[in-house]
């Protein structure tokens, strides 16, 4: 059995007495489609940024690909193959679609410091960029200003940028937030079409989407891990039911039908 790709051991993030994330441990296998769910305020997003590197854990260790990355910066983690997306699309809105992906391509395959002209190197970057854009279905939008894209297209571009980083593992932060049902559907197809060797960890509010995509699920409530297992196991878990239904009445049904939840 190969070792898990991502391993969290006793990860905590405390702000004084506030325990945003408290002693969380779980593993994500190589090639897995893993989901992290939990009711509002459970600390999902905080844990997400701790894994991505935007915030540093106050205790515990995070191991990625056999390496302790607990203290590493966001950009170092990305270079190691652990790449995150953003909940609110934070693309380079004033730049073209092509530029957005080219920025990621250059970081990994080009020489980002180059400031002298080199038609050959430029063409290589363009070709790689167009490949990624084709994969996410945006090739015909390459020259468009990113700010002019629709919400769904921005999510597609987001995936294109992440794939341009040659990820071993992709972290998705509530990708379906703010999407129409049709957009969500297209987006799920996109995620399902990712190469099988790319591991996916998805933080999501929309449980329908989670149960369609994920093979394993971790449930967070009040900063603590309360359940871990297959979607079916988690669905039947008493603690999970209590955590979701225990919220203010009717605010958080366990299953949505529409799937368009604005975070």
């Amino acid at each position: 059995m190969s070792e898990a790709l991502l391993k969290l051991e006793g990860v905590s993030l405390h702000y004084g007495s506030l325990k945003a994330v408290d002693d969380v441990s779980f593993e994500v296998e190589r090639g897995a489609r893993h989901a992290l769910i939990g009711p509002n305020g459970a600390g999902k997003s905080t844990l997400f940024s701790v894994i991505g590197g935007a915030r540093k854990a106050t205790a515990g260790t995070i191991t990625f690909n056999g390496q302790d990355i607990t203290a590493e910066s966001e950009s170092t983690r990305a270079r190691a193959g652990l790449v995150r997306t953003f909940q609110h699309s934070s693309l380079f809105l004033n730049m073209s679609v092509l530029d957005n992906v080219a920025l990621a391509v250059e970081g990994f395959e080009g020489r980002p410091w180059r400031f002298f002209p080199s038609p050959r190197a430029d063409r290589k970057i363009r070709e790689r960029t167009m490949e990624h854009l084709t994969n996410v279905g945006l090739a015909d939008r390459a020259g468009e200003l990113c700010g002019n894209l629709s919400h769904g297209e921005r999510r597609q571009l987001e995936v294109g940028m992440v794939l341009a980083c040659n990820p071993t593992m992709v972290l998705f932060d509530e990708p379906a937030a703010g999407m129409s049902a049709a957009e969500t559907h297209r987006f799920m197809d996109l995620i399902e079409s990712l190469p099988a060797d790319v591991t996916v960890l998805i933080v999501e509010h929309d449980l329908d989407l989670v149960f369609r995509l994920a093979q394993s699920v971790s449930v967070l409530a009040a900063g603590r891990l309360i359940a871990h297992g297959s979607p079916a196991e988690v669905r039947e878990d008493e603690a999970v039911k209590v955590a979701y239904l225990g919220e203010s009445e009717g605010a958080e049904p366990l299953f949505y039908s529409g799937g368009s939840d604005v975070a």
Binding site: G52, L98, R114, F115, R123
Partner: protein, 352 residues
């Protein structure tokens, strides 16, 4: 000069996933048009000493040196998103270094330019390590501190002539061992050469992968880190390049004025250099250059006519520009105005 932002989205039709055709067409045509305009502008500027009297030619020399300083501010403020008041420090460093080289070493203009640029680059590298760790308002204040510290240092040192400034700088010569240039027209041509060289380097920079990274930091530094980019290095390289460019502008200043004073590295100059970028359209090259010319003309020429009220007139121009030119002078170009941000898109050309 007008295609500075025109990204290289022209895709070779031979690749297996070609970009949309309008990007190919629009990008290519605009680039050639821009190059043509730049060449015409350069030829017109070069012909100026042939048909203008020495006084306006001298003034134009000053404008060109200042405009190159403004371009260096633009590289940081407009392209990298770092509002700076610090470029005059490197401008001054280059100016003093060129002047001292002229006094103690050689009158050769090339040597002075290289020495001044390198001194400014070294200073920018060292101070940049500190400055680029900050951003926004704090960056603005740190660069203001750099300017004030450089200003005080120049006033305090005997080497730079203290608060009296550095005088007695001999005229520059072009050929090794050649005679110093006395004619205003030749001096102007040298300044124009330095200006054109600096602008050309800047255009190449902003169209390169490095320039793309700079704009990436401007639009989303956090995002840059998330895709694995080391933004500190990009910012440090940009800061050092901009500092070198300001130093280069400083050597051109010394070549035409043959005098450097601490006032050339003061807050007031830093402020109008920054405002020239905003006035001209941050994130374009030609806009701030035009703005720099207007600003110097108002401050020095119209100000002299209007009984020393240049500051007030300039103030009114700035206030009006805020409301009438939301995207600066560069926004007057229709194609550019169509874009949402300071960086226009490649495919816009097909609207024409």
């Amino acid at each position: 000069m007008s295609t500075i932002n025109n990204e290289k989205t022209t895709v070779d039709p031979g690749t297996k996933t070609p970009a949309p055709r309008h990007a190919v067409r629009g990008g290519g045509r605009r680039r050639w048009l821009g190059l043509l305009l730049a060449v015409v502008a350069l030829l017109v500027l070069a012909s100026v000493p042939l048909w203008l009297s020495p006084y306006p030619v001298t003034m134009l020399s000053r404008i060109l040196a200042f405009a190159l300083l403004v371009v260096s501010v633009d590289l940081l403020t407009g392209y990298t998103g770092l509002p700076t008041l610090g470029q005059v420090a490197y401008f001054g460093a280059g100016a003093y270094a060129a002047g001292l080289t002229g006094i103690y070493l050689t009158t050769n203009a090339f040597v002075q330019m290289v020495v001044g640029t390198l001194v400014a680059a070294a200073l920018a590298l060292v101070t940049g390590i500190v400055a680029v760790r900050t951003k926004g308002f704090v960056f603005l204040m740190v660069t203001l501190a750099i300017t004030e510290l450089a200003h005080k240092q120049a006033e305090a040192m005997a080497l730079t002539g203290g608060s009296n400034g550095l005088s007695g700088i001999p005229g520059i010569s072009i050929l090794p061992g050649g005679e110093p240039i006395a004619l205003v027209g030749y001096l102007y041509w040298w300044v124009l050469f330095v200006f054109a060289l600096g602008v050309a380097l800047s255009v190449i920079l902003v169209r390169s992968p490095m320039g793309r990274s700079m704009r990436g930091i401007r639009d989303g530094e956090e995002r840059m880190r998330a895709i694995g980019r080391r933004t500190f290095m990009v910012k440090l390289v940009a800061f050092t390049f901009a500092g070198s460019l300001a130093g280069m502008a400083g050597t051109a200043w010394t070549a035409q004025a043959r005098f450097v004073s601490p006032g050339d590295m003061a807050f007031a100059l830093a402020a109008i250099a920054l405002l020239s970028v905003v006035f001209g359209g941050a994130g374009t090259i030609w806009g701030p250059i035009v703005a720099a010319a207007i600003v110097i003309l108002i401050r020095d020429e119209i100000g002299a006519i209007a009984d020393g009220r240049g500051g007030m007139i300039l103030g009114f121009v700035f206030v009006l520009a805020v409301f009438l030119l939301p995207r600066g002078i560069a926004g007057l170009s229709r194609r550019r105005a169509a874009a949402v941000g300071p960086t226009p898109i490649a495919g816009e050309g097909d609207e024409l």
